[in-house]
Structure formats: C-alpha cells, structure tokens
Amino acid sequence: MSSPSPASAAAAGKTVLVLGATSAIANAFARQRAAAGGRLVLVGRQQGRLDGIAADLTARGAAAVATLATDLADMDEAEPRFADMVARLGPPDEVLLAYGVLGEQAAAQDSADETRRLIDVNFTSAALWLQLAAKHLVADGRPRTLVVIGSVAGDRGRQSNYVYGAAKAGLDAFAEGLAHRLHRTNVRVVTVKPGFVDTPMTAHLDRSGPLWAKPEAIAGAIDRAVSKGQRIVYAPWFWRPVMTAVRFAPRPLFYKTKL
C-alpha cells in the first residue's frame, strides 16, 4: 500500500457516508479512508455483506463503522430514511454515491420495465439522494464534499448502451447544476467518470486490454479530486482526451462505428 495521500491524512476522523457500500469502487475508497482513521457509514442492500465489509474496514484502521441495510433504489420515504442515516452519525463530511446497475442494453431495448429500472436506479434515485444530502449538508456551513460516480458512458449516447449512458448523463447534468447552486456554500460536488473498471459489474465482459482499470486506481483518483477540489475527474485520466474525441466525432463517421 502506498503511503497515505495528503487527502487521506486529512480524512482522519472524518465521517464518510457511502451509498452503495458493496460496490467495488466504494469498497476500495472506503479502505483508503479507513486506513487514514476515518469513520464510515455503509449503506447497501444486504446486511451480511455490509457486516463483512465493516469488519474489514475496522481491521484496517477505521475509527468507527456503522451499517444500514436498505435498498437505495427504493425511493419511498426518502426524506425520513435520509434523516435517519444522518442522525446515526451526524452530518457526514463526505458522501460517496457509488451504487448503480449496468444492465443489459439488449434487454432494455425489449422491455420498458428494464429501461425504467436502469433509469430509476442510476438516475432518479441517485438524484433524489443527492438532493437530500445537499439539503442536510449546507446547513451548518462546514466544508463537505459530495462525490458522485458518473461514467464516461454519459458523455455521448451510443447504440451499445444508451439507456445506462443516458441515466449517467442525467446524473452528470444534475451534479453540475447542484455544484453551481452550492458554489457559494462550503459544499463541493465532485463527479468522477470512470471508464472500464475491473469489478463484479463488468465480470461478464472481456477485461483484457489496456483501457481497464482497477477499483483501487479509481479510489485514488477520487481521493486526489477531493483533495484538489476538482469538479469533474476522468479516471484514469486518459479518458478525458478519449471522450473528447468521442464527443466531437462527426455524426456520419460516428454512426459507422459499433461503439
């Protein structure tokens, strides 16, 4: 393990609310914060898995770990549920919104229900939790950070996964607007856009090739973005030029590709 970064060192004693704590990227990020002595609140669907992750983070140095089993995609009673999360640890210094489903483009094309599910999980519920987080976090004027995991897939609609991509694009625009709104407060909004990441979400894909990154690398990029106060981060960095090219590729050319 590398020595703690400046941001990790500053994270000692900070509280982090992890929405989607069983995701591989969230897990890697939580380990970094735990090693620096942070306090963590883990939210996910399955209590057993949260317990396993909590034990791991405790052994790695977390000052305290709490868990909350709930389905974040379920938006009923959002307001009291979020208030409950905050009540259990006080307002978090950082919120990491890391849950999502990749889904299958082909299945979504055939099914309005699947299309809706992908949009609801990846955009609607995420936007709602961010809205609530912002409301709770601006109140006392202390510096705080909202980290949103977006995706390079949101940068341009592409035939191979436009449902997922559109949800992430919506989240991107939402985070941008939220950042704008919070600009005069002490709350920062960071959007991290990973490319291909070697996680259980992508286990069914062929992961050989140079574009694939490890969750630990994405966690490191999040850490650096938070410490530097960056608004949008591509992770790894090379996705910025790649996606610039994809975004500005002329349509007649772009439509010939299988992207």
Binding site: S2, R49, A59, P200, A203
Partner: protein, 441 residues
Amino acid sequence: MIDPAGTATTSWGRVSRARSRVAEPAHLDDLARAVRAGDAPVLAHGMGRSYGDVCLNGGGHLLRTGRLDRIVAADWSTGVVRAEAGLTIGGLLSVCVPRGWFVPVTPGTKFVTLGGAVANDVHGKNHHGMGTFGCHVRALGLLRSDGETVEVGPEERPHLFAATVGGLGLTGVIAWVEIQLQPVRSSDFKAQTLRLQDLDGFFRAAEDSQDWPYTVAWVDCLAAGRRLGRGLFNRGRHAPDGPLLPHADRARLKVPRDAPSALLGPLTVRLFNAAYSRQPAGGEPARVPYGKFLYPLDGITDWNRLYGGRGFFQHQSVVPTAAAPRALQKLLELTSSEGQGSFLVVLKMFGPRPSPGILSFPREGATFALDLPNRGPDTLRLLHRMAEVVLAAGGRLYPAKDATMTAEQFRAGFPRWREVESYRDPALSSDFWRRVTGDPA
C-alpha cells in the same frame, strides 16, 4: 463477451494452459453458491503463481478468489488475523506491518493468496526455524459441495485439516484462513551475503547460520568441476528496531511482452551468473527493507515473460539430509553438463519442524530449485533425469512447481496421497490431480 466454452488460463510457468468457465465471486455467499454449482469439477484459483497445473482445471470451473480479500477479524494485540482466502500475503503485510506484525512464513513472492499458501503449504527462507505456512494456521473455513461449511484446524477435525494443508485445494474450497502473525519491531531486515566456493561451502554456511532466522543460497548452475556449487549465501533477520513501513505498492519494472528466446541463451545465463557471483559479499549485515530481502523478483511485473513465449519449467525438490550432498552434486552436474541452466539455482536446508499436511512438500533435508526455459524434449528429458536423482535419494518433487512429474513419481514422493484422495470433495479436481492420480473426472 467471454466465450461460453471458457476462458484460457495459463499458469505461472506458461507451459500449462487450460480452458475453464471462470467465475469471480465477490462475497463469501457467492462463493458458497458457486461451489455447489457442479456439473463439472470446480477448483479455486488465486493469483495463479503456481508454475504448473495445480491451479488449472481444464473443462471445469475455475473460481477466482481475488475479490475475496477482506479481513474478517484482526486482534492487533495478539496478532491473530482471520481473512478471506483471496487476500494476498502482500495485502496482509500492508495492513499488519505498520502495526508491528509480520506473516510467520512467506514464499519468495508476496503475490500469493492465503488460500493458495494453505493449499500448497508454502515455505520460506525461515523454514529451518518456523516450518511451513500451515504450522501457523489456527483454523480455516472449508466450503464443501454438499452445501456444508466446515471449520477445521489442528484440534477441530484434525484429519480433514491435515488433508487440507498442502491438499492442493481439493478437500473443499477454502473460504477463510486464520493465522498467528509474528511480532516485529521493524519492517527492515539485517542481511548479510557470504561467498560460497563450492557445494561443501553451502552445507557449512547453512550449519553456521542456524541462529539466522532466514537463509537461502543462490548457486551458479553453470559452474563445474572444482567450482561446482559456487554461489552466494544470504542470511537475514528482522532488525531489532527501526521504522514500520509497508512495502511500496508499485513494481519498479514491467516486462511488456515475451522476451525473445535468444535473450536467455546459454551465453546470457553464463554472463549473468558470472556477474551475479561478483556482487559484494561478507562484511557487516546491511539494513534493507523487507521487500528487497524477501521478494527480489516482485519488483518486475510479469517476470515470467522473460522466458519467452514457450514458457519455462521449474524443478523444485527436497532430499533427506543424509543423501543431500551426493544428490545435490548430481543435480548440479546434470544441469551444468546439459548447459540448459537457468539463471540461478536456489538451495536451502529445511529444518526438522514437521508440516501439518499429509501432502506438504517440505521435509527435513535440502531443497533444490531452478528454472528451465522450455526447449522442448531436451528440457523434458533433463527434468525426468533430475526427478530420478531426487527419488533415488528418497526425496520428492514440489507439486506447486511441477508440470511434468509422472503418476509413479508422485506416488513415490507422496505415499500417503490416497488419504487426501479419501478426503477430496467429489466436486473438486485439478489438471494436476487428474494427471498424477489417473482420475478421469
């Protein structure tokens, strides 16, 4: 998308490969489900650092354990740690070293999972004092294909424990491992290098270094005649005080693609060995970080590609102490006369501490290891002749390193193998096991 017929997996020596359905469970409940899947044999696969085919399962299922790397419980006041089987020794060191604890036994790479360390009952440079990895396992969790999860240890189901330690992952899928760490006051080693003139020099140095916890010798396998056994003897101990820093995460070098085979021709090997043996020796013990002392090759990612596209074999064997001088001399004569030699031969004396496993490789005596680039039939012939020398001396070959031993050689080296077979989970198998037991599964 992955080809539904399976994914090709290659072991570390790159001479063995097999297609398997690959799954990568992220949580223990997923792992338990996958073990029960069973239409074809299942095998857990960690970092794939086994040289031959003990980590392969052609036509079956391979369960990669890399995501199962959580610490289940750690008591930093006693150094008892329980962790999921996919945690690597390196991953554990990065957590325990800053807290003043060290793994009790480690092989020459930190890219080994705890599950793999148990399944192969690995040893290290401190075998003469600490025995094998399995000597320090307090308990482990086994997932069996009948859906049962059993806890085994030296006292809890001791026979199943003995079949599992060194049991090549066949008695059930290892879900977690609990070990006793050793306390250290520094992450540094105090290390010293002695020059060896010949094979007698090795035995003398080993004898004189009994109070050094870590010892290993590197021998120029091309030196012949009076200089047979010329080499360097390294010995080290944990420094009594100093910083408690984990190893650096990043490898310093990477081998980007297969090296041209000519790079490892006899001339290169000769030059390398000559240069290596000229490094400074003697003098006061030097202070070095543990990574440099224990894991010299880990700084080069994918060093196995240095041997080119045809891969390489490794021979590692152990022979009893009494037979060791004669057997090692014969082995060195064979390798130097063939001129096929690898960069270095590694020699070490194993100590008397018994391994807990029925199929554990180490036993008291001398162990001999070398890499041989794959040059086809000539290399296979040499490996076979070396195996004959070892077996004639009452020794055996190391399954974790092997790709060529015959069923007869295996059964001669491990006469109690049927006990492990009787404890084998019927749903588990490996290419190695089918090869050496004749099991057609």
